[in-house]
Symmetry: C2
Subunit: 547 residues, 2 copies
């Protein structure tokens, strides 16, 4: 790209300069793509404003950023005269007719149709050929032959294959963005159809697995800011994308996502605005798997920010495994005018359901997992929201089944966070009746949440049974821990959950005391082992749902 720093002093000079730039560009090796000149106008600050007042410089100085002329209430005339002179300097009589209407000559200069800035397809979701993605059937990428709580798989890998084929079918309107390598996020299948976009010099050595190309459509740069800005702008043209990032560092774009939510909310109120594809954000290197990164990389609070924005533009999903992630992603790619936040870890995790059931669970948003629950009314509900914490819930249910088979236990999984909100707070909120049908009116609910537990407390604050909920989650305790050690420190592990459930259903202080003591001992053994060996006790790490 060439930068012309020459100062064009007239419109004719400007046109000549653009023609020259276009001419050069044509011989610059970039003939394969349209060339858009950018004109930078540099003007003095406060240009055409008052030059000075009462001996104080204003134009082209900091005062032009303030109230340029303040009227002295006691002696207003000098200031009023200055304001009058300033406003008259615009020669309003040349601009407006006797009735105060814009003159016909200027009116004729105004652009019409798509040439109006607001209606330019580049900024108003306007390229019709791009608006609808040609989506393959997400079910074709599903993890097959899932044995619930046994089969293991990387949660994000099938999504990468799904996105590879979306990209293949929509080469001009779909991009994948990320501050990390997509390989590290297990989304590397996308490289099969497109390289990473790189405009620097590509060296011979870069052919060795670096996946670089000027025409690459995978956007990688260690700058969450830049990527979020790119994706926002890309959706404005009617195109689609997904940005995957470390959960903890999504806070880098807090302010930008905030403003995009506000912008979506405002644009929903304007009839002339066309809808744009949603801003899809995948948090995929999550708080519970930072074994080698530690405390700095543990922060699940990005969603705490998003829940404060207007409910009409915010959606937050916690798929429990690879298949629910596929179904949720498909849903998000079809949506418009939302900020969709999906939280799902990239590593290899136990899978829970085949794709048909996954689709059902995603549609329900909150589901009773019948295959892991008692029939009828339970004595206690164990609930999970988030992939890894739900797996701990499943293991806790197994513990309860083994040690206290007489206890009726229900397992609930929450994928759509806003289902917990009351109906009048968010469009996705369950009715009070549905909420009670799932969580019961009066039974204890041990709720294992992926993030900061207080978020759940605030979401269910208006539910009549909110005091029955005991919420577990991340409470800022962590370091370079093994998975189970980290879970135990924060109280989201299988043992703590089972102990909590037993403590709450016990009708006397001694009822389950033996089981509880055994579980406490086991928890301690697991902690000691992890501390001593740097890995989890194989028996617990490899635990599988045995039922």
């Amino acid at each position: 790209m060439t930068m012309h720093e020459t100062m064009a002093k007239t419109m004719d000079e400007c046109v000549t300069m653009i023609k020259q730039i276009q001419h050069e560009a044509r011989f610059n090796g970039n003939t394969d793509r349209p060339f858009w000149p950018m004109i930078v106008l540099r003007s003095p600050k406060g240009w055409t404003g008052p030059v000075e007042h009462k001996g104080k410089k204003i134009e082209n100085f900091w005062r032009s950023h303030q109230v340029p002329i303040t009227i002295d209430a006691k002696n207003p005339q000098e200031s009023l005269d200055a304001i009058e002179a300033w406003l008259k300097s615009y020669n309003h009589e040349e601009l407006f007719d006797a009735n105060g209407k814009l003159s016909a000559e200027l009116q004729a200069m105004m652009p019409t149709g798509d040439k109006r800035m607001s209606a330019n397809p580049v900024t108003n979701g306007g390229y019709d050929q791009f608006r609808t993605l040609d989506l393959p059937d997400y079910r074709e990428y599903a993890v097959k032959n899932v044995i619930s709580g046994v089969t293991k798989h990387e949660n994000t890998y099938p999504l990468g294959e799904f996105m590879r084929d979306i990209m293949k079918r929509n080469m001009q309107s779909f991009r994948v963005f990320g501050p990390d390598e997509n390989t590290s996020n297990k989304l590397h299948a996308v490289y099969e159809v497109s390289e990473k976009c790189f405009w620097g010099d590509i060296l011979p050595i870069d052919s060795d697995g670096t996946h670089l190309s000027r025409n690459g459509r995978v956007m990688e740069m260690l700058s969450e800011h830049t990527l979020e800005g790119w994706l926002e702008a890309y959706t404005l043209t009617g195109r689609h994308g997904l940005l995957s990032t470390y959960e903890s560092f999504a806070h880098v774009i807090d302010s930008m996502v905030n403003q995009h939510c506000k912008w979506l909310d405002m644009m929903n109120r304007e009839k002339w605005r066309r809808k744009v594809p949603s801003l899809n954000l995948l948090m995929t290197s999550t708080v519970w798997r930072q074994d080698h990164n530690g405390f700095t990389h543990q922060d699940p609070g990005f969603v705490d920010l998003v829940v404060n924005k207007k409910s009409s533009v915010t959606r937050i999903y916690f798929p429990a495994d690879a298949n629910t992630l596929l179904s949720m992603a498909d849903h998000c790619f079809r949506s418009q005018n939302y900020v969709n936040v999906i939280v799902c870890d990239k590593q290899s995790h136990p899978q829970f359901v085949p794709i048909e059931k996954a689709t059902q669970y995603c549609a329900e948003g909150v589901s009773i997992w019948d295959w892991a629950s008692c029939e009828g009314e339970p004595d206690v509900v164990l609930a999970g929201c988030g992939d890894i914490v739900t797996f701990e819930v499943l293991a806790a249910v197994d513990i309860l089944r083994r040690y206290t088979p007489e206890l009726k236990v229900r397992l609930v999984n929450v994928i759509d966070l806003f289902r917990l909100s009351s109906e009048d707070t968010h469009g996705h909120g369950l009715t009070d009746d549905e909420f009670i049908r799932i969580f019961t009116a009066d039974k204890p609910v041990v709720f294992n949440y992926h993030g900061y537990p207080y978020l759940i407390k605030r979401m269910i604050a208006d539910r009549s049974n909110n005091l029955n909920f005991s919420v577990h989650g991340y409470v800022e305790k962590g370091s370079i821990n093994t998975p189970l050690e980290l879970a135990i420190q924060n109280g989201v592990d299988r043992f703590t959950l089972a102990i909590d459930a037993l403590t709450q259903v016990a009708t006397s202080k001694t009822q389950y005391i033996n089981v509880i003591n055994k579980l406490k001992q086991r928890r301690l053994v697991c902690q000691d082992y992890a501390y001593a060996h740097g890995v989890d006790l194989a028996e617990e790490a490899n635990w599988k749902w045995p039922h």
Copy 2:
């Protein structure tokens, strides 16, 4: 400053180069301050790691950021040999003795005392002469002769005078930081003792009120990131400061403050770490006064982020007026190892109490304002947390006194947000008994909060009387509104609060229906007037506490 790009190949060359730089600096007009050379070492990525493996380049290539050599489980020998060769390349036999101890020669090279990186006073709060601020008596800067709810004053101006004199007494260890002009934040008294720091060319015209100087100690730059980084680093040296910013744009530094909280938490666990002055953040252009900026500038959610961090390092204060702000600031300047967030608007607002009472209120954190409350047990509690929203509470109490004098009303003000937390969640949390003494066990509480109302709900979730609370706050409704119009849209205005109180205490649907209807009408009149005239009805805008 001079940059030497020459490559020093030996240690001797390095020393020569530093001496040369120091010599030049001495003749560079900067003889008044000590000169610290900075050495930048540029090395290949993965330097000294494996150069390549199985024909794949590693050193100085992207693979050195990964696991450099993966061991093939089926055919491990080639990889194991490569790893052995790599590790042996460090000549461990020259570094360690036969017992595996570091050789005496290398041991002798290790720095001791303050020369150790961790113990360097520059990074370990270590300059004793700076650690304690010489603070003037904050009470001397108080707004005098306060008539509660009548006297008006800029909340932040006295703080500016207080900081001016702190700076005067502690010229080497106190700085004020801000992305906005301190004049705009009404903290401009600081310019009386120090200019803004500016290292660019200072032109003759800049003598005209620009307050620029190379030696300036007021740090202004429209980059919240840079300022937060500066202040963090400054506190590490044992020095002190305050960063004031637009509340809405504090989200720009979400991620940085997050990490500082985590760092403080970690350092609290290390005995060798010296305490450092707190990171003091003042949010002073707040959500409720964005008359000319609108929706984009309305976001009180920064505190929602901070509450998720460890309670041992976080403090959040909502002073109600200028005098409580002074007292809180004095407290924060004396504190160590905290992130102190103070939320207080810069504009002219009604004042509530003289400085002695302000000091008492700050110490209590939550106070019953006896001068605005009934005696004994109330029928309803109206509470405010935040300056502007508490003023609306006061106006609502006045409405109730006038229309329903038989009703016993209590006014509670919360300055220390964490007082609402349960005792075991935060060290500042009220006991349940205290909480009930203030908010009653069973009376309705109409709570007017400065920020997103859900935050209060989550903080009181475990209180037995939490369902009695009706929380009002900012719910993302706003534009370029007048103050009262914005308050009404979000339901934090005097009328809505009074209506809510009456609705909740009514024993039948008709009991207060006439008053409620009058208030609804008045609210509508105020909204219409604001919409039509762009300013609030004078009678409401100038309302004063008449009791």
